[in-house]
């Protein structure tokens, strides 16, 4: 019984996409999403697909992993396609007809257009988390959210929250593993019986896990106070990812290309 200690989907390899600043990547993902919704012809979709394909190749993330995100949206894709392509008793000529149910050519085309749009959206945006470490992602997010502090949005605190979550996910997973081993040693079975019996077997693991989590939170709060944490005000940072000229160049050129694709195609 092994609880994976690695988490998230970060693929730690060296690539030009990996070394791009997280903020630039977030900007490009935003521009890409906008372009994807502006595009209204098949040619535009082909161009967007080419952009995604080029990014995946550059990132050196294996295709199998890059496309993994699609699995989660298969249901949505099928429903989208069906909603557009299927007609009930249409007056027009249909491609296929099963009783009153018919597949309409124009609808099918439209449905495929939306399916491709969702697929590209999923693959394109997941490339951000695939190529950016969680730490860099949190830092980038904090920097991007910082202007929101003016409208009293606690940007720095939210980033701290994410950091702490990142820090304690592996620790908690290790602890869960320890508890599972301990309960197994006492004769607990986690692999026997139906789903309900199996779920019930986890109760003796989850209860102490949560109790410990609260104790940990208490200790951590004390330790943070002892180390003078008082929110984001007046805090300096050891690392602050800076946008280098290269990041700006990629961000600007990329946005320009995406804007052209979105507007003209």
């Amino acid at each position: 019984m092994k609880v994976p200690v690695t988490f998230g989907q970060y693929v730690p390899v060296d690539s030009p996409v990996h070394s791009l600043d997280a903020k630039a990547k977030m900007g490009l993902v935003a521009a890409f999403t906008a372009a994807l919704f502006l595009v209204d012809g098949p040619l535009g979709m082909v161009a967007a697909a080419a952009v995604v394909a080029a990014a995946v190749v550059l990132s050196r993330v294996p295709w199998r992993i890059a496309l993994r995100g699609i699995r989660a949206v298969v249901m949505i894709l099928m429903i989208t396609l069906a909603a557009h392509a299927l007609r009930w008793n249409p007056a027009t000529v249909a491609l296929v007809r099963v009783g009153p149910l018919a597949v309409d050519a124009a609808g099918l085309k439209e449905g495929l257009f939306f399916v491709v749009r969702i697929v590209l959206l999923v693959v394109g945006t997941s490339l951000l988390t695939l190529t950016t470490s969680p730490v860099a992602l949190t830092d980038g997010l904090e920097r991007i959210m910082r202007p929101l502090a003016r409208v009293r949005f606690p940007a720095s605190e939210v980033a701290m929250m994410l950091t702490i979550a990142l820090r304690f996910i592996p620790t908690t997973a290790q602890e869960a593993e320890k508890l599972i081993v301990a309960q197994t040693a006492r004769g607990a079975r986690f692999d026997a019986g139906g789903p309900i019996a199996r779920a019930r077997a986890y109760a003796p693991v989850l209860v102490p896990l949560f109790v410990n989590l609260f104790r940990r939170a208490d200790d951590l709060a004390t330790a943070m106070e002892a180390r003078c944490y008082r929110g984001g005000v007046g805090r300096t940072r050891l690392h602050e990812s800076r946008m280098r000229p290269r990041d700006w160049a990629v961000l600007c050129l990329g946005t320009l290309v995406l804007a052209l694709v979105g507007i003209t195609l």
């Binding site: 702490i164 620790t171 104790r215 200790d219 106070e225 002892a226 180390r227 003078c228 008082r230 300096t236």
Partner: protein
Amino acid sequence: MIVFEAVSFTYPGAARPAIADLTLTIASASLLAVVGANGSGKSTLARLADGLLVPDSGRVMVDGIDTADEQRCWDVRSRVGLVLQNPDNQIVGTVVEEDVAFGPENLGVPREELRSRVSDALAVVGLTGLERREPHLLSEGQKQRLAIAGALAMRPEYLVLDEPTAMLDQRGRTDVLGVLDGLKLAGRGVVHITQDTGEAARADLVLALDAGSVAYLGHPAGLLGDASLMAELGLEAPPIQVIADELRRSGFTVPEVSTAEELVEALWR
């Protein structure tokens, strides 16, 4: 100077006080060891010194600042560094260097200085080279060293360490004790909470707590030489005491000693 003036503290809902009528002075450039059985109030004392807990009666003054003064609580906490008992629950950063930087970042130390503070603190505890390591991949002893580095990087005037050697191997223990001696020589006040009476013997002053009250406060030899008091407090004598006792029983006249050097010195005379 950290001064405890007749301090009492009871946790909310607890039947008896965790610290009762404690008076104590922690001087700069000195090493104070605190010993006592489980639940005798050692960790509570540490939190009171840092202003994380405020006395119910009496007061704690850090360099003349009352820890109960909410306006100045950050002054107190930046002066008094605290290393808690469980290292795993006090590591905030996702990688080693970020964690060491956490305290100074909160103090608003400029970035160039942050760098040097982090590398200095890591060098002192012997973790240089592990800057980018994730904390959950460290051994327990390395986590303990990291927790100490995190407190050192704040450059506090006083450092309170709650059982900092509990999970260390012999080498790590010697290293940490060396760090504490170094801090003392650099003029800092060090409070070392420990279960190990051998470690306590190295201090200038030892405080033994019993159910929140002072059972002994004075030179280590006075406590370590008093076998009945040690037993009463549930403390185990360090090996050197056992040897001294054996020698006495065999007819040698051995004065109260607390370290091997003192014993050798006494036997030479």
